[in-house]
Point group: C2
Chain length 405, copies 2
């Protein structure tokens, strides 16, 4: 990994074992030669698996395969295998052949049905996946399975990430205590309107698949679908959430569980933004007062994706004119004279113009913070939306003009 993002959390969290799932990692050498690049998770029979996937029309063979399977039953156990270094996207019919070969082999090695083996691949697009290298590790992976391998898995799934991403919640519900642990990868090609990068969440809670799916889809809309690094949507985005039920604690309808799962997903989503390629600022864009929820989302997205807003923030320039521009281009209803813009607690603009109390010094001072909040109240209704993004810096150009060559 290259130098760690200045926005990275101080340390990787301590992830306790989650009863009912075991992990292993291996060095298959798909692309990276100096670190583990494959992770395997094996889930006990009866685990509920829910998922959300990219809506890209050029999504990868692995995504298509997961989508076809996600609704099935896992009474006989299931498994998740992820490789980094190659996305197996836009690889024609060979892409599906690779997925078949891997799911076949994992099924027989782990003793689970083939239609319960989920795979993800992340990395370069359009190159054949050397799946033989992955098959060659399967026996080792199977032998190495252990309760506490999730932290290593977080590292194995990384590509251009500068730090591994993990999150954990211990949840007290009326029925008992459960654990939620999650890992994610993602740094570039990150935009909303999709599932997300790669995210795997494991819990020992007991919950029916259909209920879990509703919960995960709903929380995804408020977390991973509200982040953007560069407005580019990946062909591989996958989120899988597995509830093993091993705790015997039924969490159906539990607000505590829902809140904790939300917190885990939001934490991971924020970590992806914090690892945004070249990022030096973590930005919350909070829109209120829109005519509708859809309008609020349009305005938040336009601001969070605007290269001119993001470069201004990189330069610590309180250039609120660019925020006005982004609101204007969003397509949402907006009225110059009812608009209020704030940078943190600094009132910047209201009633159609710069606020009387605003000074360039106060704006410039605020912009020196690493964590920023840009608030826009449209003054037209009750619609609201929050998105998270990062700034656009020379680092992004350096990373992406050199990524492949």
């Amino acid at each position: 990994m290259t130098q760690k993002s200045p926005l990275a959390p101080a340390e990787f969290p301590n992830l306790p074992p989650v009863a009912g799932v075991r992990f292993a990692t291996a060095r298959a050498g798909v692309k990276y030669k100096d670190r583990p690049d494959v992770m395997l998770a094996v889930l006990d029979p009866g685990t509920s698996v829910a998922g959300v996937f990219t809506t890209s029309s050029t999504r990868s063979a692995a995504v298509l395969d997961c989508q076809a399977k996600i609704d099935g039953s896992s009474l006989q156990g299931s498994a998740i295998l992820v490789n980094s270094g190659n996305s197996n996207a836009f690889t024609g019919s060979r892409g599906q052949a690779s997925v078949d070969a891997i799911t076949d082999a994992v099924a027989s090695t782990c003793g689970v049905p083939k239609d319960r083996v989920f795979t993800s691949s992340t990395g370069v697009i359009g190159e054949p996946l050397p799946h033989d290298k992955i098959l060659a590790c399967l026996d080792d992976l199977s032998a190495a399975l252990s309760d506490d391998g999730l932290a290593d898995a977080a590292t194995a799934i990384c590509t251009t990430d500068t730090f591994p991403k993990g999150s954990h919640q211990t949840v007290q519900t009326p029925a008992g205590t459960v654990q939620i642990c999650g890992i994610a990868k993602g740094s570039g090609m990150i935009a909303p309107d999709m599932a997300t990068m790669l995210v795997y969440i494991f819990t020992d809670a007991q919950i029916e698949r259909s209920a879990l799916q509703v919960l995960v889809s709903d929380l995804n809309a408020k977390t991973f679908n509200c982040i953007t690094v560069d407005s580019d949507t990946s062909t591989s985005d996958t989120l899988l959430c597995a509830a093993t039920g091993a705790s015997g604690v039924d969490v159906a309808g539990s607000e505590e569980f829902s809140n904790a799962l939300h917190a885990t997903m939001l934490d991971l989503a924020h970590q992806v933004v914090r690892d945004g390629e070249g990022a030096t600022k973590f930005i919350e864009v909070a829109v209120t007062g829109a005519k509708s929820q859809a309008d609020a989302r349009k305005v938040a997205t336009a601001i969070a994706n605007s290269p001119l807003v993001k470069t201004a923030i990189a330069g610590e320039d309180p250039n609120w004119g660019r925020v006005v521009m982004a609101i204007g281009k969003s397509g949402a209803a907006a009225d110059r004279d009812t608009l209020t813009i704030k940078f943190g607690d600094v009132l910047v603009a209201e009633k159609g113009w710069v606020a009387e109390t605003y000074t360039e010094e106060a704006g410039a001072d605020y912009m020196q913070n690493t964590e920023l909040v840009v608030s826009v109240d449209l003054g037209l209704g009750d619609g609201n939306a929050t998105m998270w993004t990062c700034d656009l810096t020379h680092g992004y150009i350096t990373i992406n003009a050199d990524y492949r060559s």
Copy 2:
């Protein structure tokens, strides 16, 4: 102006006088102190004036004023006044007061009705326009009016542009010969879905206002609305086209005139892209075979605005995987297996995968060109669209992280 874009035309064109319109420029010192920053054009009575304007909901006072006037009659003459350095956008009710003061003064100085005075302002957003500085120059401007001041005007309207933009066509129509001359400014905050930056086109052709408006709106959709530098839409975008009729040549229905006006507008639109902030590559994105025209436009826009495609091109990296990604995220119907991608004449991908004849060397060689064509055939229908854009480089970050501070 900073160092000239490497994509700039070799020289500014020779713009002949256009009978029926006179120009002048002056140094008002609105922001720039070392060069002319105001231009005045005075149009003979009977001139037809057509216009297209930004659709931004936070558009400037000058744009709102132009839109309210554009449909009127110009039998008593008309005038256009443009200043650079301050956009008079998001300046509350003071913005309209500035426009009123300027249009009043121009009307009385030039002897044209106030409702026939069009103004544009371009530059920083949200700061009061010091319109007194402009009023103080009006007598000098009026005294300096001349037939051949258009080249100077092209310079006076620039902001972050690295070169002035002009274009010229002499048109032979069955009814006689007419001249078309145009100037434009624009470099950043350039995206389609609007009129355009600032563009002023003058011709001595004779054509009714309503017919001219239809023609200009139609050609705008194929030229300025098909370019993007950074996906950010300006609050000031204005295109005005004035036909003085002084040649006595009626061009209603003339294909020659329509073609020449198209050529002038396309040339100016391309020059704006060539002056894209930080641009080192001029890129045509040509999409064919889409299910509909709207789908073709979605795909072309997604590719032309993708930071990952644009940084790859900056790095001369034939990263066609990112083109696949952009197609996938566009929301248009796309089928991996019917997709064809070409870089120039180099067939890159077809039938769902990299083309058998493609080599990384051929792709990398092609990417070293300064002028690039990325072609995508979706293989699904007859929809087609072409857009023009530039690459995304460190230059863009440098310009925009430091613009205001």
